[in-house]
Symmetry: C2
Subunit: 383 residues, 2 copies
């Protein structure tokens, strides 16, 4: 099924690390004296340096968005179905940059990397980073890569928030913003789910105040619970019904606390796999970045005023069964853009896959996303 | 605001304990050799013993449904707004029985009471109890109280499931079933949320395999997390927005893991209060009773066949913003009842209060519930 030699795969790819010595002042008023960003690129930067697109990742994503690190990899990068030759983000036409955000746990500077001042992992001392901070750091990465202006900044969920922030903060450096399955800010319910996930981690006895690295352990149970509750919000009720219904794990009731229903087994498995592959401090930071995101806040709480600073064109996509960031949340963005006379294409894709749909190969989604990106590439080539 | 001497209050009430020596065979095939049920009654049983109604409680409920145990009580019973003189369940006309279900933690035999065989608290050895088992035990309580037939069995959420089970298991002993904010069985998503709550408790280091009583502790954090995630499902997104929005606890961001948003503070407070007042093993049992409930299961998975055994009249009420048990879930019950030609009144009450609405004084709800119950009382008096 997954094949690095397939004609529509970017094939074997190699991450790279970019070191930054310029201090980065963060929204929280703290300063990162230096930092690294791990990134990957796919495709070729054209002579005019005009065909670059930036992929922004969501809560648990990273720089490895497409292709394979080795022929033995069981799975490609997390957005491989959208990135590659002939795919919606067509690497025959675009130079694609994907990075691991600051605070991440996949190679970029974050809580698990060493704080040069102490020689110990940052842990809980790593500063709170926001979507705005990420965009600033991404702009510096663009500078280094010789990209003055992105043809497009693209992201789903938390990634879509970064695309929005790019449009507001760097209007001259972005041609298109693709904001998929996202929202202009979290609702109280969104924050509440994040808070449950955080409390799961923070109260795990193996959290050790965030210094678990020094204790050779990690808050496994906290991460499992955080992921379980998160995962419920990524799937729709209908998708869960279709996938599991009330099917029993063994065909009959056992009347005990072992797994009875398949959905329990699935959730435990998802949680356990995740807990082995993700850093708890990073999870905490990512949920906080979500909570804090609210670009209207700096503009008298007017999303319209915030977006009036944008000059790029927008693609906004939502999914009917997404109850984490429902279509209404995307429509808030679209309505604000229309109100300030910005160019926006909006599609609500009919699917039962819930929030996770933005990561999946859903024909209507793939088709319209591909059509939009073809137009972006055509514009560049005709410019 | 709360006043035991108010004319529409049942005033000061006293719980009573009924001991049962007859063994109770449970659905899980285990047998409880003897047990106690804690209950309260309000109003007066008429000479014909025909005016009794049974109140079935939901996940965290108990026998104290109305009135006050002492003049100093800060709050009355959990359904005081529905039970009392002139209220929907009018104690001037009905003899109201409310009990703490088996497995509970408010006086009835449960994991926290002593297992006579060991002289220690039952803890994890307490057998799994189901909605069907509760109904069987409630029927025995009815026998003891001289109630051959309930004028009505009434419950919200898990309580409504008991009313449904009564209608199926004891058609001759129930005149009306009021099934409020309930469902004919849990969805995969409902089970998933329960599983997160259970794992929170089961993996708390203070759970001690359910024998925390012997360690002079309890799984406080697990209970807090379980209640936090549960609480999110009891409120609607709109209710949370109306109640908290994105209001900050202190007016500005602190960029840390202390409370930033009011909704975080609220959830933590709800969780902490609950953890002090509820037994973890009981919480586990209640969530399993919810998961296992599926009356159609014994009838070739046909809800219609299951309900064809019922002869009583039904009142089914749902709430528009309830996403735990949405109106569609109530309509499954209503449609099955209509298909087998049973008498059913159905109302979908428009409210933004979510699942919790069944506990609240919502004028449309109170009015139509009261109207239905007045008809029940009128029938009795005209019989």
């Amino acid at each position: 099924m997954f094949d690095p030699t397939a004609p529509d795969s970017v094939g074997l790819v190699k991450p790279a690390l970019m070191h930054f010595d310029e201090p980065l002042e963060l929204e929280c008023r703290r300063v990162l004296p230096s930092y690294d960003l791990m990134y990957e690129t796919y495709g070729t930067l054209n002579a005019a340096h005009s065909n670059a697109v930036l992929i922004c990742h969501a809560l648990s994503g990273h720089h490895h968005a497409a292709g394979y690190h080795s022929p033995e990899d069981k799975r490609p990068g997390w957005w491989d179905n959208c990135i590659g030759p002939g795919k919606p983000i067509d690497t025959n036409r675009f130079f694609v940059v994907a990075l691991n955000n600051l605070g991440g746990c996949h190679g970029s500077t974050g809580p698990g990397t060493v704080n040069p001042e102490t020689g110990q992992p940052w842990g809980p001392d790593f500063p709170m980073v926001t979507v705005k901070d990420w965009v600033t750091s991404q702009a510096r990465l663009a500078d280094r890569l010789g990209i003055q202006r992105w043809a497009a900044v693209i992201g789903g969920s938390l990634g879509g928030m970064q695309a929005l922030q790019w449009a507001i903060d760097y209007p001259d450096r972005i041609g298109h913003a693709a904001v998929i399955a996202s929202a202009p800010k979290l609702s109280a319910q969104n924050i509440a789910f994040n808070e449950v996930a955080r409390q799961s981690i923070l109260t795990d006895p193996n959290f050790h105040g965030g210094r678990y690295y020094l204790h050779d352990t990690y808050p496994r149970q906290g991460l499992i619970l955080a992921r379980m509750v998160g995962h419920i919000t990524y799937l729709s009720d209908d998708a869960m019904r279709a996938k599991f219904g009330r099917d029993l794990q063994s065909g009959r009731f056992h009347f005990g606390f072992d797994v009875e229903f398949q959905v329990e087994s699935y959730l435990r498995h998802q949680g356990e796999t995740f807990s082995r592959n993700f850093d708890a401090n990073t999870y905490l930071l990512m949920t906080k970045a979500l909570d804090y995101f609210d670009p209207a806040r700096n503009f008298d709480n007017s999303l319209e005023t915030a977006l009036s600073h944008a000059t790029c064109q927008f693609l906004v996509i939502s999914f009917t069964s997404d109850w984490r960031f429902s279509p209404e949340r995307s429509e808030e963005i679209v309505n604000a853009l229309v109100a300030v006379d910005r160019d926006v294409s909006y599609a609500e894709v009919d699917t039962d896959k819930g929030h996770d749909a933005f990561l999946l190969d859903i024909p209507e989604y793939t088709r319209l996303f591909g059509a939009y990106m073809r137009r972006v590439a055509d514009e560049l080539e005709n410019a």
